[in-house]
Structures are given as C-alpha cells and as structure tokens.
Amino acid sequence: MSGGHEHEHDVEYTAPLGETELRVKALESLLTEKGLVDPRALDELIDLYEARVGPRNGARVVARAWVDPAYRKRLLENASAAIAELGFTGRQGEDMVVLENTPRVHNMVVCTLCSCYPWPVLGLPPVWYKSPPYRSRAVLDPRGVLREFGVAVGDEVEVRVWDSTAEVRYLVLPERPPDTEGRSEEELAALVTRDSMIGVGRPKAPERRPR
C-alpha cells in the first residue's frame, strides 16, 4: 500500500484501521475469494459513478428542454424516454418524472425514507440530501430549508415537495435564466447546477458578453 519503503512507513504512518474499514475489507476479501465479486468490476463501478455519471448529464437534459420546445414537451410527458434519447439510462432512473418550475410553482425533491435520487442524470446524492436534517425538514418547513440554501421564494409561489420512492425518481426542470437569448445549448448547460435540478438552488446567471 505504501510504495517503496514499506517497512519504515508501516510503523510511521499506518494507523490501525477503523472498525468500519476493517469490515469492508473483510467483506471484499471474502466475496472475492468466493468468486462472488470481481475487484476489477468494483473499480469499474467506482469509476463510473465517481467520474462519468453526474449532474452534467442532467444539465444537458435541462438545456435541451430550454432550447427545444418539442423535446421539453416529450420530457414532461414521458421523462424516462426523453432522457434516454440523450443516452442517459440505467440504475435508479428507470422511472423518471420531470417537474417543471414556473413563475407560480417551485418544485423541490427529497427522499424522507432514505436516499432515492435519479442517478443517471444527477449521479450519487450529496451527503446533505441523505442526512436527517434535510429528510425531516424538507416536508415540514420547505421554505425554511430553501432559505438556508439561499433560495428566496415569494409568498405568491406555491412550493411543491416531492418525496421520492424506490420506483419513481424526480428531476426538477428549473426556469431558464433571464438574458440568455441566443446562448448555445452548451453554454446553457454550464449554467445548470445540481442543486437547481433538486429544487434547492437556481441556475447560475450568465456572464455578460462584451458588446
């Protein structure tokens, strides 16, 4: 593990593993020996969800919906199929519903029971999404939670909170930011944040272009 000078470093740097780390190592070694898992497959899965699947996928879906009304319509009618058109399919995203924010309705997504989240378009959820404070309060005091995220929602706007399940996963379609006429789909995608697709943030404002 420690490269070239193992003997010195083992004494100097290798603290005893914590109980949880030991249990994970024990499981991996036993399952590998039994031929139930392949360590290379584990590396591949980690790389997939750490480096390749993430909110950039969802941002492409949102940007396409902003520039292409026909796509937007398909996305709102059958989200799973419309998202699959862009090549994003797979685990924890089999049955998707897209929730459209409007000047009158703000949507936000939670999983009060655990951590259900649309992996193919957002990747793995952040720790706060899986934590007791968000899971308990998103349904009790959504406007308070939104304020903590710096999102001001006027009293005239209805806030809808969607509790995910193992069957249905939600993606928020945020409103397109003002002053973005003529921007390319790629430029628009760069404005779409993960939090705006969970409904606890807004897309970034565009940088001003020199005139």
Partner: protein
C-alpha cells in the same frame, strides 16, 4: 412500515449543512462499500426493496448515529448472511484476522 428511517416531519435535527465542492466519496472504504453493494446486488439474490428493508433493520440508535455508507454496509452484511452467501462466523473471523494484521 414506520421506524427511525421514516424521518419526514421530525423535529430536532438542526439545519441542513451542505458541503461546498463535495466529493462523491469521502473515504476509500465508502468507494468499496458502494461498489460491493452494487456488485453483490448483481448476483440477483435480492431486489432494491429487500436491500432498503435490510438497512432499515439497523437498531434505531445505531441508525441515527451511523453514516450513510455504514447503513449500506450493515444491510449488505445482513443480506449476504440471510441468503447463505456468507456466514456470520466467517465474516467475524476475517475481521479478526485483519484486525490482528493491522495491529502488528
């Protein structure tokens, strides 16, 4: 079924704390626990509802004190034992061997 995992509407958990530029995983063991859970799921011995149910069986006080991937690890151990892919004894024996190795 209600239980400690059913957190919607409960009071007292404090503000939501979001980490800036949060990494996907916070430790190597989280990476391995995540991938082991997915890979073991591919064996087809259980479905997503069974894995959630297994995590929900964690004793309530431990559930609230544990981190997310500790829930996963707990559920995975129990499913593997329940489906006869592993015995509790061989798991604990392997943990003990590793602990001795690490303590040397």
């Amino acid at each position: 079924m209600n239980g400690v995992h059913d957190l919607g509407g409960l009071h007292g958990f404090g503000p939501v704390v979001a980490e800036a530029d949060e990494p996907v995983f916070h430790a190597e063991w989280e990476r391995r626990a995540f991938a082991l859970t997915l890979a073991a799921g591919f064996l087809g011995e259980w479905n997503i509802d069974m894995s959630r149910w297994a995590r929900e069986q964690m004793p309530p006080a431990r559930y609230l004190a544990a981190s997310y991937y500790e829930h996963w690890l707990w559920g995975l151990e129990h499913l593997l034992v329940e489906r006869g892919l592993l015995t509790r004894e061989e798991l604990e024996a392997r943990v003990a061997v590793l602990r001795r190795g690490e303590a040397r």
